[in-house]
């Protein structure tokens, strides 16, 4: 009995290891607690108050009012609709294009390395610079794209950024993100055992059968990763539509065309235009909850469609 309640042996090897473990993780743990957990908890608290950016010493607790408001706010409901539309367009398109280019880049073609670099460059150019270039290209009255169009059809000026804002944004995001997706898919494709494909070829399968029966199933773990990231990024899109908006100079959020007022753009406007920081925090927490649920849903569904090459359906099985 005495042995049970006795203090552990601090000199034991396991205790020493445990001590060193905590010593090494302590800097990260302290940072995580003070820079992540506490601000998050504070943000959650603010979402239950009437915080307007300056009344921190005079906060009123409003309970779930900010969350209830979100479900009856037509701006928010419309932004959810737009965000879903954008997500459903951009995520599958992004994955398909990245995969296609990655597939192409693994074939024996001349200047393969150069093409890989060219496709990857947009991914590493700062977002602000890229978006600025796109704005100049797609500007209605003086943009280069309309300049080319009007060379064939004088006087034509298409409102790319205002009449087709979501489509133009999708193109931009596709252009920006394809390089990153391509690299990951190339890594996935190169990890597929060549002997499997060789054996299939010997058995007389055609290229489509090789792709659909071998390559694609073995690529599903990478697809899962891309899908998760793609959905989270698409749901939280904010900076790109703001920067791409016409005449957004110094007045972010003001001139975002209606079709591009996504959920996070709406949350930003509520906080920084309307000074509804409490309400904006509630919107951000709703987005966080939705993202977590969606990620869990995708992970849960993966047991039926993600295949690991050691015959396990799920890596932990």
């Amino acid at each position: 009995m005495l042995r049970i309640i006795a203090f552990p042996n601090w000199q034991s090897r396991s205790a020493r290891e445990a001590r060193w473990f905590y010593v090494f993780v302590a800097p990260w743990l302290v940072g995580f607690i003070f820079l992540t957990v506490i601000p998050l908890a504070f943000g959650l608290y603010l979402s239950l108050t009437n915080y307007n950016g300056v009344n921190i010493n005079d906060l009123k607790f409003v309970g779930m009012a900010n969350y209830e408001r979100a479900f009856s706010d037509s701006n928010v409901l419309n932004s959810i609709q737009r965000t879903l539309y954008y997500t459903l367009i951009s995520v599958p398109t992004g994955i398909a294009v990245s995969l296609l280019i990655a597939f192409w880049m693994t074939l024996d073609i001349p200047f393969k390395g150069l093409f890989r670099v060219i496709f990857y460059i947009p991914y590493i150019i700062p977002l602000v610079a890229t978006t600025w270039i796109w704005k100049l290209l797609f500007e209605k009255n003086f943009g280069l794209v309309n300049g080319v169009v009007s060379a064939f059809s004088p006087g034509t000026a298409l409102g790319w950024l205002i009449d087709y804002p979501t489509e133009t944004l999708t193109l931009l995001v596709l252009w920006l993100g394809t390089g990153g997706g391509m690299i990951i898919f190339i890594a996935g494709l190169q990890g597929i055992p060549k002997d499997l494909l060789e054996a299939a070829r010997v058995d007389g399968t055609n290229p489509w059968q090789q792709f659909s029966k071998i390559t694609l199933p073995l690529l599903t773990p990478v697809l899962l990763f891309q899908l998760l990231l793609g959905f989270i990024r698409a749901l939280q899109i904010m900076i790109e539509p703001m920067l791409l908006s016409p005449s957004a100079n110094g007045t972010l959020g003001v001139a975002v065309p209606a079709a591009n007022r996504f959920f996070m753009v709406t949350a930003y406007r509520e906080m920084f235009s309307f000074n509804r920081f409490g309400y904006g925090s509630a919107l951000i927490w709703l987005m966080f909850g939705t993202s977590v649920l969606l990620a869990l849903g995708i992970l849960w569904s993966s047991r039926w469609w993600v295949f690991y090459d050691d015959n396990r359906i799920f890596p932990t099985d």
Binding site: P154, D163, V254
Partner: protein, 434 residues
């Protein structure tokens, strides 16, 4: 006999004494935390102030404007000694008790005299209490006209003395607009749509009407005929493509478009003249711009106030209000205030500094004359609703204008939605008010 040990001991004592004196001197210094960006308070400015005020250490909290820094300091209850803020922020800050009442300090100041204040200073006056001073301001409804474009259109430049009516301005702007197919080659008129609430208020004030009810608890648009007419004016210009709109936006902000010859007229303040002065030979605005009086709707009087100046205030919890006020005086009227006036990027808040405005070129002289002429108008402070930011009006206007111009809502619905949304924002502000 002087031993080496004795020499070392004496030297050590001397060093210790010197360090003690220096540390005591350092302790006597007062530190001022200042929320002003580097482009308005440079390192050289700080060095000059510290040289003139050896008992004060200035710590500039930001390099560029960063509201997060200010918000964090306010949230932590650590209000900076000096705060840069706009007239739009002032009511909220006053309501929260963040700013120091400067009235007692101003009554004894040798540098800042209330009878030397220009009308723009009244933006920082709340219920007879001064909470700050603008660093500078401009008659922001002045018109800048590209005379080369007028000549190209065979039009004569409007008078620099007699103001255009808003109807005449619309007619002139329409004549200057150039459209080729779907493409707008040149807009006739541009203004900062974010500040349209300011335009409406001035137009209403000329007619003796108001935009808000007396206690600012509601905006009146739907049943306010002068306000509807003013909104209709800007709506019609946007619908006709004379001004940019959400469905035909400009390539950049109005000033830059004007500098590139993309609009014939732009509405801006005196400061914009300085930008034009810097235009290079061969550019679209080189020696071909005239600053004109503000347009008038017609009514009891014409006004050309500032939209809302930016200035500085002292934190109510400052541990060193006297030193902070010394900096305040220096920033407004001292070396830095004088240099700012001489730069021509705005009209100084003090009448005594007006002669410092640049007048080297004919253009600068003409602009100076315009400022004097517009300052002779009745002083008018555009009311600032304490319960919401006026830019919200501009943002909502732009949102609903897009829907109206696309035909998904009518103009009447635009007005109704605008009123409803602004009133909802005001209600939030009212609920938050202590």
């Amino acid at each position: 006999m002087v031993t080496r040990q004795r020499v070392v001991s004496v030297f050590a004592i001397l060093v210790l004494a010197l360090l003690t004196v220096l540390s005591l001197q350092a302790q006597e210094k007062v530190q001022l935390d200042i929320y002003i960006p580097a482009n308005e308070l440079s390192d050289a400015d700080i060095a000059l102030f510290e040289e003139q005020n050896p008992d004060i250490d200035v710590v500039r909290l930001i390099e560029t404007l960063d509201p997060t820094v200010l918000n964090s300091r306010l949230a932590a209850g650590d209000t900076p000694d000096i705060i840069r803020l706009s007239a739009f922020q002032l009511p909220l800050f006053v309501e929260q008790g963040i700013l120091l009442d400067l009235t007692p300090l101003l009554t004894t100041s040798e540098v800042l005299k209330t009878d030397d204040f220009t009308a723009a200073v009244d933006y920082f006056l709340v219920d007879g209490v001064y909470y700050g001073l603008p660093k500078d301001w401009s008659p922001d409804f002045s018109l800048f006209v590209n005379t080369a474009i007028l000549e190209e259109a065979n039009l004569t430049a409007p008078s620099a003395e007699e103001p255009l009516s808003y109807a005449e301005l619309a007619e002139l702007a329409t004549q200057l607009t150039v459209v080729e197919g779907d493409r707008t080659v040149r807009f006739g008129l541009m203004y900062d749509h974010l500040f349209i609430e300011r335009f409406i208020q001035v137009i209403l004030a000329e007619q003796g009407a108001t935009l808000y009810n007396e206690d600012f608890s509601a905006i009146n648009l739907v049943n306010n005929e002068p306000a509807r007419a003013a909104l209709r004016y800007f709506y019609d210009l946007a619908a006709a493509g004379v001004t940019p709109s959400p469905i035909n936006p400009p390539a950049s902000w109005p000033g830059e478009v004007f500098m590139g010859g993309g609009t014939g007229i732009v509405v801006y303040g005196y400061w914009f003249g300085n930008m034009i002065s810097g235009a290079e030979e061969g550019s679209a605005v080189y020696e071909s711009v005239a600053m004109l009086p503000s347009a008038t709707w017609g009514g009891e009087a014409r006004f050309n106030p500032t939209w809302g100046p930016t200035g500085i205030a002292i934190g109510a919890t400052s541990a060193h209000p006297e030193e902070a006020f010394r900096f305040f005086e220096w920033f407004i009227a001292g070396d830095l205030g004088q240099a700012r006036a001489a730069s021509g990027w705005g009209v100084p808040p003090l009448k005594s500094l007006l002669p410092l405005l640049p007048r080297e070129t004919d253009f600068q002289q003409a602009n100076f004359t315009q400022v004097e002429q517009e300052m002779a108008l009745p002083g008018f402070v555009i009311p600032v609703n304490p319960y919401y930011n006026a830019e919200v009006f501009g943002e909502l206007w732009w949102s609903y204008l897009e829907q109206a111009l696309r035909g998904t809502i009518t103009f009447d619905e635009l007005v109704e939605s605008l009123e409803a949304d602004v009133n909802a924002t005001i209600q939030d502000g009212l609920l938050n008010a202590s």
